[in-house]
Symmetry: C2
Subunit: 299 residues, 2 copies
């Protein structure tokens, strides 16, 4: 059991009402990997610059994340700066320096090509698509996307959606992609674009899961302390895919459990800056929160 993830590695400068942190280890693939590594072996395909420190590499390796696909290129690592509003529900990007991530051409190492579970973290749809050309058809492929690609690379995104099993996107992205304001209608319209599974994230309001056979709603874990929402979505995806990769079948029951585990790993991430809390988490922390979450939502 293992999960292949392809996405960004970055350093983030983050301002929230709780303070300011510079050069936090971040990026979609980092959050995803640390969350998924709580459950399974993670195979990482990403790119960093020559400035990527030994300590960050060691942190990932210490979680059993395989770094064969972490390419080091001349130049600097992707850097992002952002500031969150007082309610934490919106953020302003202050600076983006793509650096080595700017012309990321993911190369899946031969040893990673038998991955049954693949997560295509947010990136240009054509780049995400190129990953699927390098591997035999996996059992379960999930992609993330963002408003930028819906606006500027819609055709490539629609082509990608016909090749993936699942799509994870947030409420605004679902509305933008489908033109539907009602989220239930929006989620069901995304299904018509190809994916068998659509996970519609709503931040503090939890998420919906849509398939042609069922719909499911999961509130967020009731955390009282949101310090930094950066990476919550990728941590959710990591918990979801990581747990699912350990299951015998992709049954409704396992999907629901995976949604709950994703909810839990996201809740850990937001309680401190960057990956500070997530990287400290043990499986027993996850299991305790899982039980609390189930109690919180069980009918």
């Amino acid at each position: 059991m293992s999960v292949l993830v392809v996405g960004s590695t970055a350093f983030d400068d983050i301002q929230t009402p709780f303070g300011t942190r510079e050069a936090c280890l971040g990026g979609s693939s980092t959050y995803f990997s640390l969350a998924a590594a709580l459950f399974t072996q993670v195979r990482l395909v990403s790119v960093v610059g020559e400035d990527f420190p030994r300590a960050s590499r060691d942190l990932l390796a210490a979680h059993g994340i395989r770094l064969d696909g972490l390419e080091v290129r001349p130049g600097k690592t992707f850097r992002w700066s952002g500031r969150y509003a007082a309610d934490m529900n919106s953020r302003e990007t202050l600076a983006v320096h793509l650096n080595t991530f700017g012309d990321f051409r993911p190369k899946v190492p031969p040893a990673f090509r038998d991955s049954r579970f693949v997560f295509l973290a947010n990136g240009a749809p054509a780049t995400q698509d190129s990953v699927l050309d390098q591997v035999p058809p996996p059992e379960f492929v999930v992609a993330d996307t963002m408003n930028l690609w819906i606006e500027t690379a819609r055709d490539a995104l629609l082509a990608l959606l016909r090749r993936v099993d699942g799509l994870i996107l947030n409420d605004e992205e679902a509305r933008m992609l489908t033109g539907e304001k009602n989220l239930i209608r929006a989620g069901r319209r995304v299904l018509e674009l190809g994916p068998k599974l659509v996970i519609l994230k709503k931040g503090e309001h939890g998420c919906f899961l849509f398939s042609n056979f069922f719909a499911y709603a999961m509130p967020a874990y009731p955390t009282e302390r949101v310090v930094d929402p950066t990476g919550a979505g990728d941590s959710f995806a990591g918990g979801f895919m990581g747990f699912l990769s350990t299951c015998d079948t992709l049954s409704l029951w396992n999907m629901k459990r995976a949604i709950a585990y994703g909810t839990v790993t996201a809740s850990l991430t937001v309680e401190d800056f960057g990956v500070d809390r997530l990287a400290q988490a043990k499986l027993e922390d996850v299991e305790r929160r899982y039980r609390e979450l189930i109690q919180f939502v069980a009918v």
Copy 2:
């Protein structure tokens, strides 16, 4: 089994992206009564003007709602005009004519004084309080409130909160009342003000229920068609209190079921203008949606 409700009866002029309707029968007590009447006998205390038509009175009576406490006073019935934004999540009040509701002094008829369940719909806290002076201590009293009273009658509201068992309020009101931005913290802080039960409504995102012994989250019923959100909150309260009044005990299990029934009655209301859909609903519609909702949220 019966529920006493004290609140407004009104005619509403409503504009939503789905159209415009004038003089819809509305008001907090109307929505509450029609929802609760699906489960139990409702005893209504409210006030209308001489213009209140026979047809509206007949509609309420046809649902078994007892109108002994519906006072008719010289003048006109309360009238409200409002317009909803495109996303239905915010609305603008265009006109308010309190008319006979302006100096509403609720008088509980003797035949209503043995009510075990009492709902104090949104109104001035002192007015809500005056109802409790007219009845022996009921088994279960729930109040609603709004931002206006939190801002202008805070002390009276805090006094009321020490006399009620439950408070229903929405996310913005909870934040305003407690000064807490995080909704989980806000809900728990409201508990410290007196109520044993706090229901925090989040519109399309469902609701939270807080007590000192448990917390619970319920997503909204997955409706694809929201035509007019007016009265959703009072319909929720009506389904919640109406069902609960039929239960032998106020157990956690019955509270959870009542939350689900409130969610269902609110979902009926929003699917058409005013009370059009709610007033047509049969208990079998409610039970079908209840089963669908449980399937949607069951772990």
